[in-house]
Symmetry: C2
Subunit: 604 residues, 2 copies
């Protein structure tokens, strides 16, 4: 199975159409403005000098590269053509300021000249990877190949340094990304050296003295270099690095039919999805190092769950699906799509969360949060910010939202697979495919297909009742329909209560409310303060109600409220008063000012 690229997909309506349009019309410009202000674009001119302000950071190349990638994808979708000249000017700056051997990196050109390939943790290859991805996207969007050629040369330079000469101080990068970029480059150029270089970085990881000599304990785990990748079975370390690595591993498992890599990927995906993933699809619960910690360590207030990490999990899941059409992969992608990724962006489309906690306690003041953090607790910002110093997430949203069509369908010779349900037209050349749905507001899916292949439709794991009158067989969570040109399926969507594993101590005694793939939360702005005094009634009703906030529904659950207790400790005499609990989609939280919030609610 190969994915059907987003360039073949035209979204027509629904939540993701809204999000994509907002990205193309607002978010891309919001990010551009912030990058302009902070000097990220100008940095490509490589004329910063010591003592000046706006000193380029070692990951600025990648920030801009992701933004270019996002703009390029939106061009393919027919938007943002007017950005072309601006991007051309950036490409020109890269051409002007690169070294003769093809090398380009702002930080090691203007800040730490001479330290090229000596600092494993300073994102040098990570930046290269993102520039390569941007160049590929830009070529697709414009047909212009200058950027791509520059990156071709850069890849040659990297090949020479790492493979031919082995002259860098390290052998594999401190932040993965180059690996999956090189696979993409190989698939674009067909140049075997690009694949070989990707294999080199994968094979050498955790497998050579240079990788291990100065990194032991935490650091080796942190960058997934603690052992050869084929022996890795548990997701460890920085979550984004991990899933970028695992994505490349899955790519190579597919391309090379590498059973050992595939086995490792399967275990790693299971370890994440069965033991280390928030109900929102968020991953990397460890706030102090943005990392995976241990199974079932999923605190809510202190969740890190970086937006980029959610994106990286979708990328990994998507690639696993190409190895094996099993809904366990596309279910996780769906979870991330409707929760942990989109929570990172404000409803207005111009402000961001880097972290995505699953609970906020009562906002008091920034000084309060600061004091709590000083004590070792972690409280993140409580309202989405326009910009972050570390600004990886906003342009990652740009490129992900523009290319979300990538996640909908795939095909092989016999079958067209429908993984995600979005209202869209898909151009398959001779064949056409139309999906009509208002999912996830509504579970009805109508599929119209002109072509000779069978259709496979994912059955979402959360669905308890599927209405479908067309004969089909089911395998690995997909319904297979033979000889069908039109079919209707309905996945009954109704609010339901979810319990977390006993081992998740943070969720003990609690329930989460979901409706279809969407996780809900309760905010104080709707329910009054002390969300912790609210109880969902296990046998109560949960009704869907119109939302003023999102195009999905809100929920209203039968609940009970315990009277507020102000005394620190008192006799347990709480009487419960019946009440209604208003729930909004999790992703829409913190759009009405700082407010107490919980996903996991008490239950009686």
């Amino acid at each position: 199975m190969k994915k059907i690229g987003f360039d073949k997909v035209k979204l027509n309506s629904g939540l993701w159409k809204t999000l994509q349009t907002r990205n193309e019309e607002t978010t891309i410009y919001a990010v551009k403005d912030r990058f302009e202000e902070t000097g990220r674009f100008k940095a490509f001119s490589c004329d910063w000098r010591e003592g000046e302000d706006k000193k380029p950071h070692f990951f600025w190349d990648s920030d801009v590269a992701k933004w270019i990638e996002g703009v390029a994808y939106s061009m393919i979708n027919g938007k943002n053509r007017e950005q072309e000249a601006f991007i051309d000017s950036i490409v020109d700056m890269i051409e002007t300021n690169r070294y003769d051997d093809g090398y380009f990196n702002i930080y090691y050109t203007v800040c730490e000249k001479g330290k090229r390939w000596t600092e494993r943790y300073n994102h040098e290859l990570y930046c290269a990877g993102h520039l390569i991805e941007a160049a590929i996207a830009y070529k697709k969007a414009t047909g212009k190949d200058k950027f791509l050629k520059l990156m071709f040369d850069y890849a040659d330079c990297i090949y020479k340094t790492f493979v031919t000469e082995n002259s860098a101080s390290f052998m594999t990068p401190g932040h993965e990304e180059i690996e999956l970029a090189l696979v993409k480059l190989y698939e674009e150029t067909g140049e075997p050296r690009h694949l070989e270089l990707a294999e080199f970085f994968i094979d050498k990881r955790g497998n050579n003295d240079k990788d291990l000599e100065d990194e032991c304990g935490v650091n080796c785990l942190y960058i997934q270099a603690h052992k050869p990748v084929r022996e890795q079975r548990e997701a460890v370390g920085h979550a984004v690095r991990a899933c970028y690595l695992y994505s490349a591993m899955a790519d190579l498992a597919r391309i090379n039919n590498d059973a050992a890599l595939r086995t490792a990927c399967e275990s790693l995906f299971d370890d994440i999805s069965k033991r280390k993933m928030y109900i929102t699809g968020g991953i990397g619960s460890g706030f102090s190092t943005e990392c995976f910690t241990v199974p079932y360590d999923l605190p809510n207030n202190e969740a890190y769950a970086e937006t980029c990490a959610a994106i990286s999990l979708a990328m990994f899941g998507q690639r696993m699906l190409e190895l094996d059409v099993d809904s366990k992969y596309s279910d996780v992608v769906e979870k991330v799509l409707y929760n942990g990724i989109i929570s990172g962006l404000s409803l207005g489309g111009d402000a961001f969360f880097y972290e995505n906690p699953l609970a906020y306690d009562k906002p008091v003041s920034a000084e309060y949060d600061r004091q709590m953090n000083a004590g070792g607790r972690h409280r993140t910002i409580r309202e989405r910010a326009k910009i972050f110093g570390c600004s990886c997430c906003p342009p990652n949203i740009n490129r992900f939202f523009a290319a979300v069509g990538d996640y909908i369908c795939g095909c092989d010779e016999e079958t067209v697979y429908i993984h995600q349900f979005m209202d869209c037209d898909i151009n398959l050349g001779d064949e056409s495919l139309k999906i009509e749905t208002q999912y996830p507001r509504d579970g009805k899916i109508k599929i119209t297909y002109s072509g000779g292949r069978r259709i496979a439709v994912r059955c979402p794991e959360w669905c308890r009742k599927i209405i479908c009158h067309v004969p089909h067989t089911t395998r690995k969570g997909y319904m297979y329909f033979e000889n069908t040109d039109c079919l209707e399926v309905e996945f009954e969507i109704r609010p339901r209560l979810v319990r977390a594993a006993s081992a998740v101590i943070a969720d003990s005694g609690c329930t989460a409310v979901m409706c279809g793939p969407v996780v809900y939360c309760a905010e104080a702005v709707d329910n009054g303060d002390n969300i912790g005094d609210l109880y969902i009634l296990k046998d109560g009703k949960i009704n869907t109600v119109e939302s003023t906030l999102t195009e999905l529904c809100d929920l209203e659950a039968d609940g009970a409220r315990m009277a507020e207790q102000r005394e620190l400790y008192a006799d347990y005499m709480a009487e419960l008063e019946p009440c209604k609990i208003r729930l909004i989609p999790y992703y829409a939280f913190a759009n009405r000012g700082a407010s107490e919030m919980r996903v996991w609610l008490n239950i009686r």
Copy 2:
């Protein structure tokens, strides 16, 4: 009201008799052995040289001083006389190695010679304070005054440096302790300079440029030097430092009848006891800096709640009681006495907790905990250790347990006050007082008194039914009995459920079980794994049962168990199976190997 010192009190039976005996027979020797092994005693010879191992740490003087104080108190109780020669030898070393001006500090004599009075954070005055306390105790125990004379000279040296010459780099210490020690010294010697020096440190704190110039933000709060002490209303910073300071403030408020100091102390005590104290009396929830954080931030797994901090709160509460006989102070002292202090010592008496969490999740491995900690979560050790590098708590237990009699009674001209209920004889010279009780195993108290004063007896805040047939009046939580030579009171002790304030998010949806002043907990060793799947039944029974672990009762509560869920997320279909939940006194947790534990339990 002045306390009646422990030297007038002879414990006869009961929990605290057991604890005191164990301290005198086991704990004091366990600490001595560890101090011997680590070179703490030998360090007093001041012959350590650079390059040798066992480099003296800047707080070693204080560790040994607290141990000497504990041994001295136990001598007064008639134990450990054979340690006298050993302690004499330490005193001799101090005499030999002190400077001509009276100065003595191991670290600044052998490690950082020449840096005397330049490093505010290196516990120089803290060590001096503990040496002074030890010298006073040793004089009381033995009648020998050499140690005390040395400390008299040392106090003069400090006076000259800080008051006369103002020649130190700082004006008030980075770790308080000297203040309360100087008040004690003044009360022993009657020398006005000692009181004046204590006043100096109190008055100057947060009130001068030297205090503030290089410490801003966290650090100033951390050491309570962010504003003049009389303006302080909220407990901030390192909890032990805070309560040592507040104790000295309360002393001076009493001695000098200083209304501004008293007002500050009242607010600070209220802030702690009403907003920042665990149900165990533990304080300082911030693990990363051992500090108070913000009101109601009382996480259970990540509780810091240092044993020393609990001790310091008892010290503060005791001094507040001398300012105002109000049971709100003695109730807090009781809470600490039966929970947060004694949890710091193993039942065997020879192993310690520095931190006292209110929950442990399932033990997996030290590596698991390490990975969790690396992610920013805090998991402390799971079994009491024989020794800590930072070993302030074990000798603090030595001195506290030996002198616990200090907390029982007080008197003024008209009244004899009974604050804590322990089975004991109290020698008041012409008068005698006998308290017969098995409290807190049983709530009956029999008081026999020969003397003309009235008797005041604290009514514990947790008690809902007092049986007493003797006429009395009640004021500020104390029952006052006139002309009584024998009286019986019974405080009905029965298991009860406690709820925490709505604002304590860590305890939302949960209840704690107490019986009298004793907090209970559930351990997996009694209840099986997944304590988070247990529910106390709100309307169920809780019976007392014999304990094999402690001399108090265990409890058996009607509860329900939710079947273990292994899937990370699943439909909420939990059926509850009735079960019994075994509860043991909190202080006895982790005495049967590493085990899951919770104080705050789910409730239905």
